[in-house]
């Protein structure tokens, strides 16, 4: 197989029609879909290397069993785009749709999941409540009937959910941008954005100034800092989210298992590693250092679900940054205050699974100038108008 370069390195031009800040899945997907719409004079600027941020640190879960009709419709589009992504981008992104189970260990949990199942079904998403016998059939290794402090009472079963090879998605989108005529600039850090008379005029980087009328803020962890460059305050608080991976084991777990009560979730990759994580850290921080208490908590809770994994070893732990909004939903679209400044930010712990939909719809917005209906609920103005999209219940540990 002759190796072909995935992407080229280009000189930074002094003018682009669209400048996208952030070389993660959102920025690259937007750029890719823009090239598909014929907008090709575009640049993606990445301060480190593509996939350095949340796109390389998330736990690669894809699902659409959200709680609000707005959220469900949006993530459903994302799942559908993911399903055809390997073919679209001619790259195996290894989307394994082996199902996603959210466990409930108490009555309140069952009620919350029932509501999601009902709403999902109303919106045409494959999702239903299942009970211990069926849970055990789907996940034979799960401690359903053994001794447990909080026995499993039910689960929200979402067959189309699963995991994906997150790095591959990033690389494939980057190649798609490259082939479509766009530029991907790594190690290119934005230091300022010039605005004149309420209109974006240029982006300043460590490699030079770029004239442009359209800038997309597609960053995480630093979304607030980029927005402040145009004088815009956005309601975001950044929290670390931690994860860990074990040594490879012969695959025994096909589904993604999530338990909000136990603050843990786990899946097993095609390489055999178990990937586990928990909720975001409760304190706001920009630290990318993992903590011991996270590992202890995640291991304890995972062993409650899978007691026979006590001797399985953790290989690595890491942390990523999550930009949390008050309603646990993202902020997408423009702002009336600064023309030409758009954003797809506030992706909290659920950004990766939304990448293609966010890119697809943002590209449509940039290319046409009109906000697609699926984006409307997520506008920044919802915080001024008190029109929140409350996804906390569906997003806290499920990510």
């Amino acid at each position: 197989m002759a190796s072909q370069r995935m992407w080229q390195e280009h000189e930074l031009k002094d003018q682009y029609d669209v400048v996208i800040i952030g070389g993660g899945v959102h920025g690259l997907a937007t750029a890719y879909y823009l090239t598909q719409l014929g907008v090709r004079n575009i640049a993606v600027l990445e301060a480190k290397y593509i996939g350095f941020g949340g796109s390389g640190r998330n736990t690669a879960i894809v699902r659409s069993n959200y709680r609000t009709p707005e959220g469900i419709a949006f993530y459903d589009l994302s799942v559908k785009l993911y399903e055809q992504l390997a073919a679209d981008l001619d790259f195996n992104v290894m989307f394994s749709q082996h199902g996603h189970l959210t466990l409930a260990h108490n009555e309140k949990g069952v009620t919350g999941l029932t509501e999601r199942a009902n709403t999902n079904q109303l919106m045409g998403v494959n999702s239903r409540i299942i009970f211990p016998e069926e849970i055990q059939q789907i996940v034979p290794d799960l401690n359903v009937f053994g001794h447990s402090r909080f026995p499993i009472q039910a689960a929200l079963y979402h067959p189309p959910g699963g995991i994906i090879r997150h790095d591959a998605v990033v690389w494939a989108f980057a190649r798609g941008v490259d082939r479509g005529g766009g530029h991907v600039h790594q190690k290119t850090e934005v230091t300022g954005i010039e605005v004149q008379n309420g209109q974006v005029e240029a982006v300043v980087t460590n490699r030079g100034r770029i004239k442009t009328k359209t800038v997309l803020n597609a960053t995480a962890g630093y979304a607030g800092i980029i927005s402040r460059m145009v004088g815009l305050e956005i309601p975001i608080e950044t929290h670390p989210l931690q994860a860990a991976v074990t040594e490879p084991l012969k695959p025994f777990l096909n589904s993604v298992i999530v338990s909000s009560t136990l603050h843990v979730y786990v899946s097993q990759t095609d390489r055999g590693e178990l990937v586990l994580g928990a909720e975001v850290d409760d304190h706001s921080s920009y630290s990318l250092r993992g903590t011991l208490s996270f590992l202890e908590g995640a291991a304890t809770h995972l062993l409650e679900l899978f007691p026979h994994l006590a001797s399985v070893k953790i290989l690595r732990q890491w942390a990523g940054l999550c930009d949390m909004t008050p309603d646990y939903s993202p902020i997408m679209g423009g702002t009336p205050d600064v023309k030409g400044f758009l954003m797809t930010v506030g992706w909290g712990t659920y950004g990766f699974k939304a990448g293609p939909a966010s890119g697809y719809l943002m590209a449509e917005l940039i290319a046409s100038g009109k906000t697609p209906p699926k984006l409307e609920p997520f506008a920044l103005t919802r915080f001024y108008e008190d029109r929140l999209v409350g996804e906390k219940a569906a997003a806290s540990v499920s990510h």
């Binding site: 009709p69 029932t114 695959p251 025994f252 095609d270 409650e304 399985v312 953790i314």
Partner: protein, 981 residues
């Protein structure tokens, strides 16, 4: 360290037997499993991850992936650091049918169809093929198999320790650091992963003997050191030249030094918080200062077939020779660039191995070969053999001419990778230093130092001095007499370049990657990544070291990069045409060594906290069905919900509400604080009165509800719901923390009081029998709060009515909870009192339309829409959520929590949807049969335009829409007469 430890002629203590892949293997007691297999001639111990190539012992130090087996049901155990035990069952992994003959070796021949990242370029067309392929991949992926019967065996344990100075690594540098620090008057904890102290001297007797000899000859250190360093540190008494045994004795006998062996430090977390694994125990050690003296490990050379069984690291050979008393029959070729190679050649020779040649990559090595044929300026090109080494092809560095040597063993002593993961983890800055061919610290993280080989200081004398320097500096920092030395590493440790003759002085750079050849040259043994794979990946554009890692998977396996880091960086640098410094390193992340989850979990698995009220045993004896409410256990129902309901409505009932959160607030500014926390008013709450309140967040979202009683002018008693007790505690503390000048003293008394709610038309008569207090309506009306004595126990009594009847919530000190509970039931017997559980309470409160926060509300509910507009006093001065609630009021309700009566007698599941024209309108949050209403009633969120009394809503039940009628009034006693009676 006792001398006999190094004596290879030591007679075996005893012989034991264990099982390897179904047959018996004999081992000396104390021998490692790997050593026993080596002695038994079992040289293939595993199969590689991708190509299923045979793999044999390599490092013998628990670093490389080669000896990973399943031991007694535990997958992925490194058998080189696992002592053999009688009856142990060891099984090889990732091979079928056996490790000796593995059919999947076919992948090795098919490698041209599986180049680096091949799986990204195949198997996805047509789309339905991927699930099929994936099924196949998931059958062959992974290493060990988990055993479902194998639970958390043995006792896992945790220990918390504190120390002034933690020294990690018990080699020469670490031993000296520990002593120097202890002599500086501080407490020291020395941690080493091996069972005994001594570091690499444990398996290098010649080096240890040299050091000892230099003592007996009275030799003083002549090693070039940094003299100015020593002048500035008078405490660094030179004692480098004593025998290693004496040094270890002085360390272990020192009263200020605690030695922890067989313990690996896996993480250095924020604030010098060390995670340490010692068998099944996790030690959490908080240290004021940390000295990293972790040394280094040998790195393999990258040449063709370099993964064949029989290719070993020199230190691995030494460990087998001296710790496991093994031999290496036949001939060996030693390839080296340092003195270590010569020492191991001599040691092998002494043990009976014929050394075919020493292949030295240097042109003019200073070392004496003792008559062994030596090829200078040469390197190894290839290993011959298919299942075990049968020969070696060597050549000058230029690659030609080649010659073959016959041998059974290829021993590599080609330099070291520093064990610097903990330094990186803690934020030290390191930079590649060509003079020692490794990264060295340029800037320390606060309260951290390093010493010895991890600094590139490999000469034993210099390492000892480096350790003393670090120990003395750390001690002086603890005791506040810090030396002038700054945090700049060049000022505070012995320069590696100045410390000794750099081992690779005359070796060409990157010599640990031999010239290219056609066969596979493995860089990453865990993942079967070859040199060619790395170059191909870079050519495809994955040129950044981190991207390269993720695409090629180099360094992502069980060895965590320990074997492949040096070579992969060197190859990446070379192929990109960059320097090593420009190439950088991948991020070091904890744990430093793979860490079992059982160790992390400790004893807590299945032992999560269970909280029981003082009346718990009584409830159980009474046959109550107990349920979980957070960590609490609460009675759900005793015998019959209907009977319990009737008792409360018609006579008297009592429910255990101990689980509610209880907070006492005292001080002159409590009223100000309450006015700020709650949307309703408290300035006008009189002493002896209690008021209902809800708590909102800044967005006006309803967080919790409870009661606030004013017992004295400046003393308030608050209750919260069970589920939010901790959150409200934190909430109060959060807001108080920013108001240090407010006189508000807060005590969480949740655990101090038992509580019970006595309710029902006869409850006054019941309580009257137990207290002298005046319970009349005049003296103690609805919403009165009083302190009185009940059956001799001082109590707080609140006249509130959650269930809609005359009722008293009684709080008494926990230790008297059962006494008061039993007394109430005894006193109530003549009125046929009954205890009631949560299920009955739910119906009772639902009939009153009393909401439960978190059940009837969610993260978007504000009190205006939750049908409590009266509680929000927007004319108050600032309170939490005021601005948001003002906006919400201005824009009007969008959704509303309403009561409804269902038109049919079915009881829908909670969270059944309210539909409007097929679209989502809302959901029901509470529902049940109401005896008072004679039908199904409930609470539901509906669009505001459907929330008026008498409007009809449609509820989806089992796919069918059932109409229900909105009702403003409570379903029971709408005027509240009973409550106030």
């Amino acid at each position: 360290m006792s001398p006999q430890q190094f004596d290879p002629t030591k007679p075996p203590l005893a012989t034991i037997e264990f099982e390897f892949d179904g047959h018996r293997v004999r081992a000396e007691s104390g021998q490692s499993v790997a050593g026993a297999l080596h002695a038994a001639g079992e040289h293939i111990v595993s199969r590689s991850f991708k190509y299923h190539r045979p793999r044999g012992l390599l490092c013998m130090s628990g670093r490389c992936p080669n000896c990973i087996c399943t031991v007694d049901g535990t997958p992925n155990v490194r058998i080189c650091t696992q002592a053999a035990k009688p009856g142990m069952v060891v099984k090889s992994q990732n091979a079928w049918p056996s490790v000796k003959f593995d059919l999947l070796r076919i992948f090795d021949k098919l490698h041209r169809f599986m180049p680096v990242g091949f799986y990204y370029k195949s198997m996805y067309k047509p789309r339905w093929m991927w699930p099929v392929w994936e099924k196949f991949i998931r059958r062959i992926a992974g290493l060990g198999t988990i055993n479902r019967e194998h639970g958390a065996e043995g006792v896992y344990d945790k220990q918390n320790l504190f120390t002034d100075v933690a020294v990690i690594g018990g080699g020469l540098a670490g031993l000296n650091a520990a002593l120097a620090a202890a002599e500086g008057g501080v407490t020291v904890t020395l941690i080493d992963e091996q069972p005994e102290l001594g570091g690499h001297l444990r398996h290098d007797p010649e080096l240890a003997a040299e050091l000892t000899r230099s003592v007996s000859e009275g030799e003083r250190s002549t090693t070039p050191t940094n003299p100015s360093q020593l002048e500035r540190s008078p405490s660094l008494t030179l004692r480098v030249s004593e025998s290693v045994g004496d040094l270890i004795r002085r360390v272990t006998e020192h009263p200020a030094i605690t030695v922890i062996t067989s313990a690996g430090v896996f993480g250095c977390y924020e604030g010098n918080y060390l995670g340490i694994q010692q068998g099944q125990r996790m030690i959490r050690l908080r240290a004021a200062q940390v000295i990293v003296a972790t040394g280094c490990w040998e790195r393999p050379l990258v040449f063709e077939n370099n993964d064949l069984p029989g290719v070993m690291l020199a230190s691995g050979v030494q460990r087998l020779l001296h710790l496991d008393h093994c031999q290496f029959p036949g001939e060996a070729v030693v390839v080296t660039d340092n003195a270590q190679g010569y020492r191991v050649a001599k040691q092998l020779k002494a043990a009976g191995t014929r050394i075919t040649a020493i292949v030295d990559v240097r042109d003019n090595p200073p070392d004496s070969a003792d008559g062994i044929p030596t090829f200078r300026g040469h390197t190894i090109i290839s290993a011959n053999g298919s299942r075990h080494v049968s020969g070696a092809v060597i050549a000058p560095l230029a690659g030609h001419p080649r010659q073959s040597l016959s041998c059974r063993w290829i021993v590599q002593a080609v330099g070291f990778t520093p064990a610097n993961s903990l330094l990186y983890q803690n934020g030290c800055k390191l930079r590649y230093d060509e003079s020692v061919d490794q990264a060295v610290v340029t800037q320390y993280a606060p309260a951290m130092y390093s010493a010895g080989a991890v600094n590139g200081v490999r000469d034993p004398h210099a390492a000892a001095l480096d350790g003393q320097r670090a120990g003395a500096t750390a001690a002086s920092e603890v005791s506040g007499t810090a030396l002038a030395a700054g945090r700049d590493a060049s000022q505070s440790h012995i320069s590696p370049a100045a410390s000794a003759v750099p081992l690779s002085q005359s070796a060409p750079s990157c010599h640990y990657v031999s010239p290219s050849g056609a066969k596979k040259k493995f860089v990453c043994l865990c993942e079967d990544v070859t040199e060619k794979d790395i170059c191909d990946a870079i050519d495809e554009g994955y040129s950044n070291i981190e991207t390269l890692k993720r695409y090629s998977t180099v360094s992502m396996g069980p060895c965590q990069g320990k074997m492949c880091q040096s070579a992969s960086i060197a190859i990446c640098a070379r192929h990109n045409g960059q320097s090593i410094v420009e190439t950088g390193v991948t991020t070091a992340r904890p744990p430093e060594q793979p860490l079992p989850m059982g160790v992390l979990a400790g004893r807590t698995v299945h032992f999560s906290l269970v909280r029981r009220t003082p009346m718990h045993a009584w409830h159980e004896k009474a046959g109550a069905k107990m349920g979980d409410a957070g960590n609490w256990k609460r009675p759900q129902v005793y015998s019959s919900v209907t009977q319990e309901y009737e008792a409360v409505r018609q006579r008297a009932g009592v429910i255990d509400v101990t689980t509610h959160g209880k907070i006492e607030l005292r001080g002159a500014d409590v009223v100000k604080f309450l006015e700020f926390i709650y949307p309703n008013r408290f300035a006008n709450l009189k002493v002896g009165r209690v008021r209902y309140g809800v708590i909102c967040d800044d967005a006006g979202i309803l967080l919790d509800d409870g009661t606030i009683a004013r017992l004295r002018e400046d003393r308030f008693f608050l209750t919260t719901t069970t589920g939010n007790a901790d959150a409200i505690d934190s909430w109060f503390r959060w807001w108080l923390a920013g108001r240090p000048d407010w006189d508000v003293r807060m005590t969480n008394v949740s655990g101090s009081y038992a509580a019970m709610n006595l309710a029902g038309p006869r409850s006054r008569e019941v309580l009257k029998k137990l207290t002298d207090a005046d319970l009349s309506s005049d003296a103690m009306p609805y919403l009165a709060a009083s302190e009185c004595t009940i059956v001799g126990v001082s109590a707080i009594v609140l006249r509130i009515g959650f269930v809609g009847e005359l009722g008293y919530e009684i709080h008494v000190p926990s230790q008297f909870g059962l006494h008061v509970w039993e007394s109430i039931l005894e006193a109530g017997r003549e009125f046929s009192i009954a205890p009631f559980g949560l299920e009955a309470q739910r119906v009772l409160r639902l009939e009153k339309k009393h909401l439960l926060p978190g059940i009837d509300t969610d993260a978007l509910s504000n009190p205006l829409e939750a049908d409590m507009p009266w509680i929000v006093k927007l004319d108050k001065e600032d309170f939490i959520g005021k601005e948001s609630l003002a906006r919400a009021q201005a824009r009007g309700d969008r959704n509303k929590l309403v009561g409804f009566r269902l038109s049919e007698s079915v009881i829908p599941d909670l969270a059944s949807l309210v539909l409007c024209d097929g679209k989502l309108g809302g959901r029901i949050t509470s529902c049940g049969y109401s005896p008072a209403a004679g039908g199904t009633v409930g609470l539901a969120w509906v669009p505001a335009n459907l929330s008026r009394n008498g409007q009809t809503i449609q509820i989806q039940v089992n796919g069918r829409l059932i109409p229900a009628v909105v009702q403003d009034e409570p379903f029971y006693d709408p005027a509240g007469m009973k409550l106030k009676s």
